[in-house]
Symmetry: C3
Subunit: 137 residues, 3 copies
């Protein structure tokens, strides 16, 4: 049984942005040489999230629009007095900073239409840190 911990850094260029990190996560699994176990993808920020869905250009726009529609700035949030990014915090809090994906025969058990995304909610930012951890045998 082994634990392999890695980290990637992500630079974002828009206020809201979806970054497909499936390749980096898969690479982490391959490098770990773990055949069966789990992969944890964890964002170390409170204004971003990790989600899994299909990587289709229109849907990527839909996801960002939905995050904007459901978590509005300008709703007189108290945190806006301090940082003016309450909406981003709220979207992050209710979406969640991590996903856990089984690893089987050396690969993520992602379905055909599943990609792993870093969801930027308060960009642009440089050096966003995402932990990629693989545990198993």
């Amino acid at each position: 049984m082994n634990v392999k911990l890695g980290e990637i850094r992500i630079d974002t260029i828009n206020q809201k942005e979806l970054v497909d990190i499936t390749g980096e996560v898969s690479k982490g699994v391959t490098k770990s040489e773990i055949n069966n176990g789990i992969c944890v993808v964890y964002s170390m920020h409170s204004t971003s999230a990790i989600i899994i869905n299909e990587n289709e250009a229109g849907l990527r726009e839909d996801i960002l629009k939905k995050a904007s529609d459901d978590f509005c700035s300008g709703s007189s949030w108290q945190h806006d007095r301090i940082d003016d990014n309450a909406a981003a915090h709220l979207a992050a809090a209710f979406t969640g900073p991590s996903v856990v994906i089984p690893v089987k025969n050396g690969s993520l058990t992602l379905g055909m239409w599943q990609s792993v995304f870093f969801l930027e909610l308060d960009g642009p930012r440089s050096g966003r840190r995402v932990v990629i951890e693989v545990i198993g045998e």
Copy 2:
């Protein structure tokens, strides 16, 4: 330390549907012969989710209604031009494809009012695949 990977297939008959899979998940834990560890339940689809809540008939209807209310079709989503199921993708993306439940003394640490559900968001479908993984000692 052991890793046990299994999979179940689920057929759904409605557009939106909650399928209680607590029995199958518990069976996976029993079969694994793992006493202490975790159980990961992971749906391999981008138009479904895994949730945990109480299995009460009225509440099951409420959960499906809430998913419909909050993730509307007909909102001119871009993905609808391709597949006409953007709302299902959005609900899946923001709800999440997996849950992780501790395993203690050979059982899931589910509370008295907690059941594990497969949430179909784009049915009816046959052969929905859900990975049930148990890791521990």
Copy 3:
């Protein structure tokens, strides 16, 4: 490879409340003597959730307001005929009962602005049970 299972009890005093449990979770990691692995924080209730975000007084209020705004009581939910707390169940179902955080060099990989919260959605309640589990080496 080791598995350490612990539990904390939480008393809440308001209908909705955020309880910062970062200290208890960190203590669980320290006590486990596990250096690298994961920590699972799991709430055994269907009217509460676990979230991660910044512990700032205004933002804490914003999070509770958002939970109230998005999951309204009085929407003629069917479960309200039985228990009058459907809104709390719905918020719990779509937010989720658990988080998984990597453990690295004996510490949680929490970012600078990340705290772990128990989110009470149907309080006040006494003796809310939260499992804190650490797995690793």
